[in-house]
């Protein structure tokens, strides 16, 4: 943990919520994307991240600094999402995950959207455990050790999950290619 982060953490622990915001902000987008990939719904993901950040604020004293603050935060977000996934789902997962803004030109945008829908759909069909490791490792580029810390799984299990998740995803992507007109 850097000195700046340590100072912000100290200030946040003493009740400075602006310091907490500055501490969290660099990890906010990744936290949100993790929630979005897991829950598949933007509003639900936003709620989950909000609740997770609130839990993090209340539990700041429990963060001992053994890992990065962001890793600790992602773990709280992940647990919040897993809890929500265990609850009865009010509706089927929506297609909104592809509803994002693009900076590309229209042609690229269409291509990206098509690819996105296909990959996004395939990703959503995977079990949550596989979605988690693929998201954290391949999309968010987190080190595998951090993936293990976030999910609370042994390193070997994360690797196994990654291996199986890749196989499953490849199979789904190939199937979707075959089914395309």
């Amino acid at each position: 943990m850097g000195t700046g982060e340590a100072e912000l953490l100290q200030a946040a622990r003493q009740g400075d919520h602006e310091a907490f915001a500055r501490l969290v902000r660099p990890s906010l987008d990744t936290a949100y994307r993790l929630a979005l990939r897991l829950l598949g719904d933007a509003a639900e993901a936003e709620d989950a991240v909000q609740d997770a950040l609130y839990s993090a604020w209340r539990g700041l004293a429990r963060f001992r600094g053994g890992a990065k603050f962001s890793t600790w935060l992602y773990r709280i977000v992940w647990r919040q999402c897993v809890d929500r996934l265990r609850r009865p789902q009010p509706a089927a997962l929506t297609e909104q995950a592809a509803d994002v803004s693009f900076d590309n030109d229209p042609a690229t945008r269409v291509e990206t959207l098509e690819a996105e829908s296909r990959v996004e759909r395939a990703l959503r069909q995977l079990p949550a455990a596989y979605r988690t490791v693929l998201t954290l490792f391949y999309i968010e580029d987190l080190p595998i050790k951090d993936v293990a810390r976030i999910t609370g799984l042994p390193l070997g299990t994360v690797k196994t999950h990654l291996h199986r998740a890749r196989k499953e995803l490849r199979k789904l992507l190939e199937e979707s290619e075959v089914m395309q007109p």
Binding site: R25, L28, V119, Y138, I139, K145, L162, R166
Partner: protein, 181 residues
């Protein structure tokens, strides 16, 4: 696809498969000493090369996904929630509003009247000179009102107002009782 020799996997292939994530690890320290060995092995083993290529392909596919940012205002709403939690909470009496304040006032009024009745009874049963009567009544009223004040100490502004009202009414009652005596 030809494999190293045949389709048969060697112990290195199995190791590479089990540690699939390590092959395309990004130098996060998790791959350890095996990486060089696995890389050299993969260079001439079709099976492992295919595994590696699959990992690269999956990464490329997943990287096509959009990377939505956290919604605007998400952090601010969390900070607002935290700040609301930290703000001084209104007392139960203040939350309950004027009805509770009136109830407390009536309670103190009843206590005041009770004190006055007690004074009346004391005056009625003890034969004292008018000057002594006044002294005794004042002492008794002081005790009753002190007890009332102690009980009302933590009830906030509304409680204090009720207490003042009760004091006044109790005083009037005591004065009226003494005057009639």
């Amino acid at each position: 696809m030809t494999r190293h020799g045949a389709k048969r996997r060697t112990w290195l292939c199995r190791l590479a498969e089990r540690t699939g994530a390590l092959i395309e690890d990004r130098g996060d320290g998790a791959r350890g000493l095996w990486q060089g060995l696995l890389q050299r092995h993969a260079a001439h083993c079709a099976y492992c090369r295919a595994e590696l290529e699959e990992a690269v392909w999956i990464r490329r596919e997943l990287q096509t996904l959009a990377r939505p940012r956290a919604p605007e205002g998400l952090m601010e709403s969390v900070v607002a929630r935290i700040a609301a939690e930290q703000a001084p909470q209104p007392s139960a009496l203040e939350r309950a509003g004027w009805r509770a304040a009136a109830a407390v006032g009536l309670l103190f009024l009843a206590l005041g009247i009770g004190g006055a009745v007690a004074v009346w009874a004391a005056v009625d049963s003890v034969s004292l000179s008018p000057g002594e009567l006044v002294m005794e009544a004042q002492a008794l009223a002081d005790e009753v009102l002190s007890a009332m004040y102690a009980a009302a100490h933590d009830v906030g502004l509304a409680g204090q107002m009720g207490l003042a009202l009760a004091w006044g009414l109790a005083g009037c009652a005591v004065a009226a009782a003494l005057r009639s005596a």
